[in-house]
């Protein structure tokens, strides 16, 4: 990842103590640290709570021939806990990368599990933190070539309590959903905004 050539880096942080506050499905640690300041010198000792979460691979499943995008819909506990009147979320494909698995392999496996789609070409788009103030979660975003014919059904792993509806829509209809609020999760927004800006170039490369 290209970063600015100057500026502050990891060597400018002094970790003084780290304690685990909760260790269940999600782990929460508290870091006591200080860091160099932009104007020089050091900060006071700071206390920062952070969720420790693994890497996520996400996939924009795009059919360049039909100009269609595969979407999924599933229940999300974060929306429920926030009091959202509709805690089912319309998303693209995403899942946690298992230890020993590459993000590329995970992208192919998860797209089959969640939407029943075989991937052809797979391009890496970008890597980002979903909530860098309080979580270590990093998302590797891909765009994948799929065939959107006959994508309509219920998928997901029963053992993980997944109940996922997969469907496909014309790309322009999905881009309209970006302004109506129908897509309201970080992974979906980042991926679909990217596709809205890069669809034409991608179609030229792929068809």
């Amino acid at each position: 990842m290209n970063r600015k050539p100057q500026g502050l880096s990891r060597e400018d942080v002094e970790l003084q103590a780290q304690e685990t506050l909760h260790d269940g499905f999600i782990r929460v640690d508290r870091f006591h640290l200080r860091h160099r300041l932009h104007r020089g010198g050091w900060s006071e000792s700071l206390s920062r709570e952070t969720m420790l979460r693994g890497e996520v691979a996400a996939v924009i499943p795009y059919d360049p021939v039909r100009d269609e995008i595969v979407l999924i819909e599933q229940f999300r506990v974060g929306l429920y806990a926030a009091g959202d009147p509709n805690p089912w979320s319309t998303e693209i494909i995403a899942g946690i990368v298992e230890p020993g698995e590459s993000a590329d392999d995970m992208a192919r496996r998860e797209t089959m599990e969640e939407a029943g789609c075989e991937i052809g070409r797979l391009e890496r788009v970008m890597t980002f933190y979903s909530s860098p103030g309080g979580s270590s979660q990093r998302v590797v975003m891909y765009c994948a070539e799929v065939s959107a014919v006959d994508i309509d059904g219920v998928y997901g792993l029963d053992a993980e309590g997944e109940d996922i509806r997969a469907f496909s829509l014309p790309a322009d209809d999905v881009f309209d959903m970006l302004s109506t609020g129908a897509i309201d999760n970080a992974v979906g927004l980042v991926g679909l905004q990217w596709l809205a800006m890069n669809r034409d170039a991608l179609r030229r490369r792929w068809t």
Partner: protein, 203 residues
């Protein structure tokens, strides 16, 4: 389906510190009909956030900030300083709009004229209740820069401005790599023409 299709069977607090972590037992209706088994879900409860894309429609420039981020340090990132747009937690007695104006002044020194709601989104809906209300705020980037932030909260924020095209190039190079910044700048790249027309500054 909607909220009535979820049955909360129990919840407990697992951790209460700066953040709160709860455990939910619930079941919900299935797409195929019927109900799921009882599901166990850990969820971090966080207050709503307001974010602002501070945009100068005359110069087509966006104000960006750079600050240390604990989540990136915990992930082992070699550069745990993050380039972002303005964002902060909404206080209980404050509207998102008021917070957007206050936080933009605190973090960048910029006063917002027009303020438009762009969207609401969840950064991590599988494990966190945090919801971000994103605004675009009209600012002047003349003379913008320097170090800002509330020292009492440990904030040390470097402020600068870029053209929309240069900010977009930083998204594509990976220099801007957080969801709020990427979503805000990509939104601006997709919508700046209509925004500038609405605000009466298009050529």
């Amino acid at each position: 389906m909607n909220r009535d299709d979820v049955e909360l069977e129990g919840s407990e607090i697992l951790h209460q510190g700066f953040f709160r972590m709860d455990h939910f037992m619930l079941r919900h209706r299935l797409f195929a009909g019927g109900w799921s088994p009882a599901l166990s879900r850990e969820i971090m409860l966080r207050n709503p956030v307001a974010a602002v894309i501070p945009y100068d429609p005359i110069l087509d420039r966006v104000v960006l900030i750079e600050q240390f981020r604990g989540g990136m340090f915990a992930a082992g990132d070699p550069h745990p300083w993050s380039i972002e747009v303005v964002a902060g937690i909404i206080e209980p007695d404050e509207t998102a709009e008021d917070m957007a104006r206050r936080e933009t002044l605190e973090e960048t020194g910029c006063t917002i004229a027009r303020l438009e709601k762009v969207m609401d989104y969840y950064p991590s809906p599988g494990g966190c209740s945090e919801c971000v209300a994103v605004f675009c705020g009209e600012v002047s980037t003349e003379g913008v820069g320097g170090i800002h932030g509330n020292a009492a909260e440990g904030e040390d924020i470097r402020v600068f401005s870029e053209t929309t095209d240069d900010a977009m190039a930083q998204v594509m190079s990976g220099a801007i790599n957080n969801s709020i910044g990427i979503i805000g700048i990509q939104w601006l790249a997709l919508n700046r023409q209509s925004l500038r027309q609405r605000w009466g500054v298009a050529e």
